[in-house]
């Protein structure tokens, strides 16, 4: 019977969250007591809004799938599509509101690199602590200690407190511990977004090694290239439900198509936003200034971001950060208005529009999208993936034609020279 090879069975998993969790955070004993005392007098104690559907949001709705031993499954979708919620339910961090999942075998989850790391403790101590938190036995950690340390490349600093480590070192050590967890099912959430490229390669190598040993991996990432290299199957979640469950190529295509379609729809209607949303991104335009032709390699280009404040009295200063992403979902460059340079002109008249000008667009012909974040003081106000899509036509960079269809997306101004011969 083939059921013997089935390691995860999700049956109509659903998760409902209360809206305004942040407001809930401030729930206090004092309010509760006042409420009870007040209602004891009135005798009409109503459980506030417990059945009022407007107060809830479904992070996951009726998600069903089966995963067999040895499958490497990429979970893709936009922010808020339910990817993290799904992984949290499978790793038992949170309970589903309804539905169930059956999991066979030891499941190790890596929802964040370095969970439980403590800055005051040394690297060595953190390996043991983190290992124990992730569910390893002490004997197991002892056995694999040398392997973990050599994978992490931080041998020299093992007895230094982790607070003196660079971020890269912490990530390397933390991933090394998790990579040696040896679960039968490994659940990984976007951990490769950190760390330098060399180490990212090493981690991906380790994960494909794990996959090659016949273990099952569930992997969340925004990097479509990595997902496609690693996974054989893709589950594309949209608004808490499965949109596509197919081989990875088809799932990624379906996802990218959907992101692109969304970027054509009205930005203000988009629901897949993050942040406080007291200020939202209302419009994005990519234009060639002066109206001379379209967007092309080497041409002057303007990125225009319009924001809208919910409250017209709101006078906070905003900043805008955007990332140019290629058609495979790989980020190419991030530009932030908060990184000031002498060439910037502060916009004193109208703080609600950001215009970023590039003299010569250094992108090869192709289709690109913009992921945009709006920050107000210290808070993320709005973040929209694929806020706009634009096509770059063939053009010239400093008079030199730039050809598409080769590896890479960036056109770099350059010259060929004849070196001095003596």
């Amino acid at each position: 019977m083939q059921a013997a090879d089935r390691v995860i069975l999700a049956d109509a998993l659903s998760k409902r969250y209360k809206l305004g969790v942040r407001a809930d955070r401030d729930k206090t004993l004092r309010d509760e007591i006042t409420r009870h005392v007040a209602s004891a007098g009135a005798r009409v104690r109503r459980r506030p809004g417990s059945d009022d559907p407007a107060r809830f949001t479904w992070a996951l709705r009726d998600v069903s799938f089966e995963i067999e031993r040895g499958e490497v499954v990429g979970i893709i979708g936009r922010n808020g599509a339910g990817k993290s919620t799904l992984l949290k339910i499978l790793s038992r961090v949170t309970q589903p509101t309804s539905g169930r999942a059956r999991i066979r075998g030891r499941l190790g989850s890596l929802l964040e690199v370095g969970t439980g790391f403590h800055g005051e403790l040394t690297g060595r101590e953190n390996v043991y602590l983190n290992g124990a938190i992730l569910g390893m036995r002490r004997a197991e950690i002892n056995r694999r200690f040398d392997e973990i340390v050599s994978f992490s490349e931080v041998e020299k600093f093992l007895d230094t407190p982790v607070k003196r480590y660079s971020t890269g070192m912490v990530v390397r050590l933390a991933f090394a511990v998790a990579a040696h967890l040896e679960p039968e099912i490994l659940v990984v959430d976007e951990v490769l977004a950190v760390g330098d490229l060399g180490f990212q390669r090493k981690c991906i190598g380790k994960m494909s090694e794990v996959a090659g040993e016949g273990r099952t991996i569930l992997f969340v990432s925004h990097n479509m290239a990595v997902i496609q290299a690693l996974c054989s199957r893709g589950i594309f979640l949209e608004r808490g439900a499965i949109h596509t469950d197919a081989d990875i190529g088809e799932a990624v295509r379906s996802y990218l198509r959907s992101v692109e379609e969304d970027s054509l729809s009205d930005l203000a209607d988009r629901q897949d936003r993050r942040g406080w949303n007291e200020v939202v991104l209302a419009g994005v335009d990519v234009i060639a200034p002066g109206g001379r032709g379209g967007i092309a390699t080497g041409m002057p280009t303007r990125f225009v971001f319009r924001t809208r404040r919910q409250d017209s009295d709101d006078e906070r200063r905003l900043s805008c950060t955007f990332t140019i992403v290629n058609s495979l979902g790989q980020p190419l460059a991030t530009i932030a208005s908060s990184d000031h340079g002498p060439q910037d002109v502060a916009n004193e008249r109208d703080l609600d529009v950001f215009v970023c000008e590039i003299d010569a667009l250094p992108l090869v012909p192709g289709r690109y999208r913009l992921d945009v974040e709006i920050h107000g003081r210290a808070y993320l106000q709005d973040a929209v993936e694929g806020a706009a899509t634009f096509d770059v036509a063939q053009g010239t960079l400093e008079g030199r034609p730039v050809a598409g269809g080769r590896p890479g997306d960036i056109a770099i101004p350059h010259r060929w020279i004849v070196p001095p011969l003596d």
Partner: protein
């Protein structure tokens, strides 16, 4: 709702820990919570590492480090002696007041420090709780136990101070582990209740220090309990620390054994606190990751 059915994988008992090949069922828990004590037992190594982390970090982070474990009981006893003995004129019979107060204070500080750290422990470990699954009861338990080295130091100080006043322990000192169990049951019970409540109601942390002050006064630490007569000496036992402190003094500095009724009442109350706390905690635990 969906009526889709899947063939079950295998009918194994899902209530057991996911050993290799075993199957776990992930679904919403309903009704009366199960304590899952075997999960706690399975997590004993994690408990050990968390206690060790808390102890290590505390000694590393505080400027005085280990010295604080020595200074806290001594300074408090000096203050108590000046105010309660000299000024308020509380008499403790044959036992010199500093020894009397110290022998009451040492188990109390173990409890009070444990409850202070324990009640804040879940919120302090929020990042771990939202990322990794393990029996959550381990967290307040580890926080409460992390006061053990401080207690050991203070215990030795008590023996030294008592010896300076010519009081030496008798065989009764062998009862100290049992008294400690009573203190631990009380401290764990309070920590478990308060840490879970603190996830839901963030003002619990403001209540804890005040409550501990009142609890200190309700415990015969600065004053002796032997002036109380029946039934008050048993009613006092409703405060489990009353029985614990009285029994600790008996075991360490040889004061008369408190009434059996007092100690038994304290033990029963401590166990009720611990048991009810564990069930409350397990019921609240279903929502920790969502609201913390």
């Amino acid at each position: 709702m969906t009526t889709r059915t899947h063939e079950p994988l295998a009918q194994t008992d899902h209530d057991h820990l996911p050993e290799t090949g075993a199957e776990i069922l992930v679904e919403r828990e309903r009704g009366w919570p199960s304590l899952r004590l075997w999960e706690l037992w399975e997590a004993r190594e994690l408990l050990y590492f968390l206690v060790w982390r808390d102890v290590k970090v505390r000694y590393k982070q505080t400027a005085l480090g280990v010295a604080w474990a020595v200074l806290q009981p001594i300074l408090t006893v000096v203050v108590f002696t000046v105010f309660f003995n000299r000024v308020a004129n509380i008499s403790t019979g044959d036992v010199p007041y500093p020894v009397f107060a110290l022998a009451g204070l040492v188990p109390w500080l173990f409890l009070a420090n444990g409850v202070t750290i324990g009640s804040a422990s879940l919120v302090a470990n929020a990042n771990v709780i939202t990322k990794v699954y393990f029996p959550r009861l381990v967290i307040p338990t580890a926080a409460t136990l992390s006061g053990a080295p401080d207690f050991a130091i203070a215990f030795v100080i008590t023996l030294i101070v008592a010896a300076c006043y010519g009081i030496f322990p008798t065989l009764a000192i062998l009862a100290v582990p049992f008294v400690l169990l009573l203190v631990l049951a009380t401290g764990l019970g309070a920590s478990i209740w308060l840490s879970a409540a603190n996830v839901e109601y963030r003002d619990v942390r403001y209540v804890v220090p005040v409550a501990l002050q009142l609890w200190l006064l309700a415990t015969p630490i600065v004053y002796p309990a032997n002036q109380l007569h029946s039934p008050w000496n048993v009613i006092l036992g409703l405060n489990p620390m009353a029985g614990a402190v009285e029994a600790f003094r008996w075991a360490v500095i040889g004061t008369p054994f408190p009434s059996v009724g007092l100690v038994l009442t304290s033990a029963v109350v401590a166990l009720v606190m611990l048991g009810s706390g564990a069930f409350y905690f397990r019921a609240m635990e279903r929502r920790f990751a969502d609201i913390i």
